[in-house]
């Protein structure tokens, strides 16, 4: 895969305008009505959905990408990356990791995949830290309360 052919993860954060997305949607639905959807239209729509900030759209985008993955063996390599990107944006780091690692197995030299990898790792770690912090805070509050209860009990 040439480096210019797959977008960096930052591109996924930039969303399309509403009009553009609307046009893509109508195009997709028009082809759906004709019961022959070309892969390109499906991808255009899916990519537009993934880029949008609405979670429901992201989900739908990932679903469409999964559909492309299933039905077009030729496009599967690219879809792996896009699926990983989509899941990463949604926060499903496990799936994102597994898709990405699958891709890296086949193409270790892929720059975008590597960068996505590091991104996912950082995000996972960040969540972990936050979680630990919360757990720690909750534990601290819990012990304080417990201590208070015990003291009250012993005082009586």
């Amino acid at each position: 895969m040439k480096t210019a052919e797959v977008p960096y993860a930052a591109d996924a954060e930039v969303s399309l305008s509403f009009d553009e997305l609307y046009v893509l949607r109508t195009q997709y639905e028009k082809e759906l009505a004709q019961s022959h959807v070309t892969t390109q239209t499906m991808f255009n729509y899916a990519w537009g959905l993934v880029k949008s900030p609405v979670r429901e759209d992201q989900l739908q985008g990932v679903q469409l990408l999964a559909e492309i993955y299933r039905s077009e063996p030729k496009r599967r390599r690219e879809c792996l990356y896009y699926l990983a990107l989509g899941h990463y944006k949604m926060g499903n780091f496990d799936e994102a990791k597994s898709f990405n690692s699958r891709l890296l197995e086949r193409e270790p030299a892929n720059l975008q995949a590597q960068s996505l990898d590091t991104l996912i790792d950082t995000a996972v770690k960040r969540e972990g830290y936050i979680g630990m912090a919360i757990a720690g805070g909750a534990a601290a509050v819990g012990t304080l309360l417990l201590a208070g209860l015990v003291r009250r009990a012993t005082r009586k």
Binding site: E20, H36, Q40, W47, E95, D117, E127
Partner: protein, 695 residues
Amino acid sequence: MAQSSKAITPDSIRTEPASSSSQYDSALTSRLDAVSRNFFAHFNHRKRDSRQILADLAPVIMTPKMMAHAQTVSARPRAVGTSSTRPTLDFATIGRTPLRLGLGARRTTSRELEVVETASELLAVTLPDASSEERGMPSLLRGFEATVPSADTARARRRATRNVNAPRLGLKRLSLGARGLITEAPTDEAESEDDVVVVVARERGRRGRKKRGRESLSANKVFGREELERQTREIVRDKENLHVRRSLLHNDIVEITNKIEALDVIRTRLEQDLLKLQEDELELDDELLMVQERLELETSQNNQSGSIHPSLMASSRRRKGPAFLPSEHDELPPGVAFMSLECGSTPISSLDFSEPYGTLVTSAQDDAHPRVWDLLTGEEIGRLRGHVGTVKALQVEAHLCATGATDGAVRLWDLRQWDLSDVLEEAEEDGEGTGTDGGVVVERPRTEINGVRTSRGSEEDALGPCVRVLEGHSKAVTALYFENDTLVTGASDKTLRQWDLATGQCVMTMDILWAISHPSTVPAGHLPGFPLAGATAAAGAFALGLYEDFIGAVQSWEYALVSGSGDGAVRMWDMRTGQAHRTLLGHTGPVTCLQFDEIHVVSGSLDKSVRIWDLRTGGIFETVKYDHGVKALQFDSRKIVAAAGENGIKIYNRTSMQHSTLSINGHTRPVEKLRYMDRYLLSGGRDAIVKIWAL
């Protein structure tokens, strides 16, 4: 609240355990396993839970069909995921659980669950290897950039740059006026153009001084270097986009073509199935006819308490429905000769049998005594003595057999009567033959052996099988057909004779030469000036090499008679008047075999073709071509079985128009005669062997 199911954990995620020693690690993790499994059991997501959740969330949507679909989606085996089912107990997972428990407060929708579930399933799908075909295809993102609507904006922008700030002309109003439409009052619309390049306007200060000629619209326009370079780049990019779109469309077209081809293959297969159904329907029609006939028969039998009246039963030649076969016949492999009978050493000249696994009579060239066989055992019962020349035509109906030979005589035989003396004589003559003629075994009749042998001199006096002798023809009898009490014979003296079997008298003689020279109707499809003399001459000078039979075949029904003769004509006679009322011309060689039913006449001739004619109009339905002359044929609504001068028997399927050949364990020399009833076929060839096939 649903957590994701066990996903693969590549080694990059494991941070802590990787650093510690392996042994300590394994002990630790095993204990941790137990603890963690219990601890996290609550959060482990099982497949059935998701379906439960889905069903609860939207019971209306989750019809049984959807549930089944969800089940199949989740039940597909996950090759990679099953290997690591235990929860990964490491820093990251522990850390994230609080988030997932409390702070990740998002409503789980069915879509999310589906996405999550299918993710693991997708991973199980195999990737194709990196093949060269992918190099030619533009990547998805490239295609996106090429086809997204904003790709066209560059072009629009460039067009906008070429817009000139001209004074308002009111062009639209003009055009509407030209077309005759009513226009509104002209309003001053503000023209807004985003990307209008700054036009360096030349001061038109000194107006009025001189009326210059009007300059072209582009005269005042200067773009500037960067703008022009930008436009070049954009145009180049647009051209690339065009290429990308072209290759996308091309790929799509190729795919669609492949799909169409696959569908075409499926369609031809379905059409073949349709043809097969048609064939089955024809077979069922025949069976219905026969069953109805039998019904009438048996009801009439109940009414009169007599035996089956022979006239009610159609002759075996005309009977179409299935025959009575022993149950073992169904187990025979189709298309294979399962029995062979050796009949002497000379080519078989004719054969016929009464019913499957019944009695068979065969005659050979240069052998005046046809043999009688029992088809159940495959052994020769005896011989019919009486003729002095090759028996060229014979027909067997139940226990009656009629034979016509080159001595011009027609004999009737009763196959039930076997005189002992005949058997004894035969035993004497063929005593030495048991060694040489392989399959000829003389079977002693059921009656006890009489020690006294009475010498039978002339067969005419004998009480043997021969019941009647019909003399009248002057030359060899080459074709005959009898039904009930009417027998029709054709001979090389170019006449057809009709006989009454009850009295043994010749009722009518029909002369073919006379019919040729006095055609009652104009032959169908021929010019009025058809040279009759030529036909007569052909008939007169008739001697086509080895084939000498002027009348190749006859068949009759009530008073209608059809004959096929050596001049290639198939004639239809009315036996009440003795006139040929129709002649079917088309064959270019002598007609050797024919058969007709209510709708068609089928005739085969030495001109390597079989023609199917319409009985009522005389027009040709079909012509089937073969590689050699056709010597024998039989047809029904679904097939034509022909002996076409090859070792194999040719079968032509009339519904699918396909040819096939019976050759397994077949003849070693060309097939001469054949006859079949339902699924039981007999064929005799020049190798002097009669083979029995299961169809």
